[in-house]
């Protein structure tokens, strides 16, 4: 498809409210050319890049997130005659925005709405790693936990019951030792299953027992949906507002929630890629 034709297609498609191509363009993501988009999230030093390289075979496109000095790697792979686009998110401990990295990761999962978000976790540090996993599960239904470094955990005498973990979290858990290539084929299969909807995920969400909090969240979420057309996950945004998350409060105040500044350079990059 020529760059021009693609631009026309994207524009046409973006006009309908059921898809988020305009959101993707704002985030600097090239629209089209893949069947499923997969995001890779995880704490720093969990082997996220090893998994990225194993999946894409080092064919990656490295740049910056639009307007941010945060490195961004993208790649693609084919599996079962489907094309997958893989976006590597910055390694973070949290999505609750205390740094630019976290903001980038959060905005991507929240607004670009990837078909599958893979949360790479360190099996030897599972307790701390599950913090990010729980946050991702609050935002998206379609997640996969890549339980990496199981070889190291075994060496430390740790045995993880991945089936119980999967049952508790409501999403698939894939034990891996990505350095040795273990678990890569399982991960590919699970990603495809979740992307295609063949694996019904039922992510565990934190329930708030406080009735006053629940009603505050509900009323705020309704107002957010009214103010921001088709805001994905208004409930999550409402919770952040109640928590006093400064970056979300700012975004709501100046109406830029879900809308990101797109410097001209990125548009050129998209055209270059299409050529």
């Amino acid at each position: 498809m020529s760059a021009q034709a693609e631009a026309v297609a994207a524009k046409h498609c973006g006009a309908c409210s059921s898809c988020n191509t305009s959101e993707l363009a704002r985030l600097g993501i090239k629209v089209g050319g893949w069947d499923y988009m997969v995001a890779l999230a995880g704490n720093p030093n969990t082997g996220k890049s090893t998994i990225f390289n194993a999946l894409t075979g080092l064919r990656q496109h490295v740049g910056n997130w639009s307007g941010k000095t945060v490195r961004r790697a993208e790649g693609a792979f084919n599996y079962n005659s489907k094309k997958f686009k893989l976006v590597d998110l910055p390694g973070t401990y949290s999505l609750l925005s205390t740094s630019v990295d976290e903001e980038v990761a959060r905005d991507f999962v929240l607004f670009a709405r990837p078909d599958v978000t893979v949360v790479v976790t360190d099996a030897t540090q599972l307790e701390r790693n599950l913090c990010l996993a729980m946050q991702v599960l609050e935002i998206t239904d379609r997640a996969v936990i890549a339980l990496n470094l199981v070889d190291e955990a075994r060496r430390n005498g740790l045995v993880i019951d991945e089936r119980a973990l999967s049952r508790d979290l409501g999403v698939p858990v894939v034990p891996m030792a990505a350095r040795r290539g273990e678990g890569i084929s399982d991960l590919l299969r699970v990603i495809e299953n979740v992307a295609a909807g063949a694996y019904p995920t039922r992510p565990r969400r934190i329930k708030y027992a406080d009735a006053a909090l629940e009603s505050a969240v509900e009323s705020l979420a309704a107002q957010l949906v009214a103010a921001f057309n088709n805001l994905p996950n208004a409930r999550w945004v409402a919770l952040r507002l109640l928590e006093g998350d400064a970056s979300i409060v700012r975004a709501v105040r100046d109406g830029t929630l879900g809308a990101f500044k797109q410097p001209d350079g990125v548009v050129n990059l998209v055209q270059l890629e299409a050529r």
Binding site: Y93, L96, T98, Q125, C131, G244, A246
Partner: protein
């Protein structure tokens, strides 16, 4: 007492986190919550920062950060084991 007063080699349980806003959030993200058992692991040559063992990983905190974390020394070793 506060975390910065904890001697190296000793463990204490967090009772209150006084940090505010983004820093409070960060403490929670790193697993520092009321009830968490923290051990002072290493002191840097000038005494600041200090490395703490928190839920099986080591985190360095500056004095002004540790001062905002209220703790209670843990003497019972079984408690240290179950809560890490």
């Amino acid at each position: 007492m506060t975390l910065n007063q904890l001697d190296v080699g000793l463990a204490a349980k967090v009772t209150k986190v006084h940090s505010a806003n983004a820093e409070r959030r960060r403490m929670f993200d790193l697993g520092i919550l009321p009830g968490t058992v923290i051990e002072a692991a290493l002191r840097s040559p000038l005494g600041d920062p200090v490395a703490y063992r928190i839920r099986n990983s080591v985190v360095a905190l500056r004095r002004e950060q540790a001062e905002l974390i209220e703790v209670q020394v843990v003497t019972d070793t079984t408690e240290r084991k179950t809560e890490r």
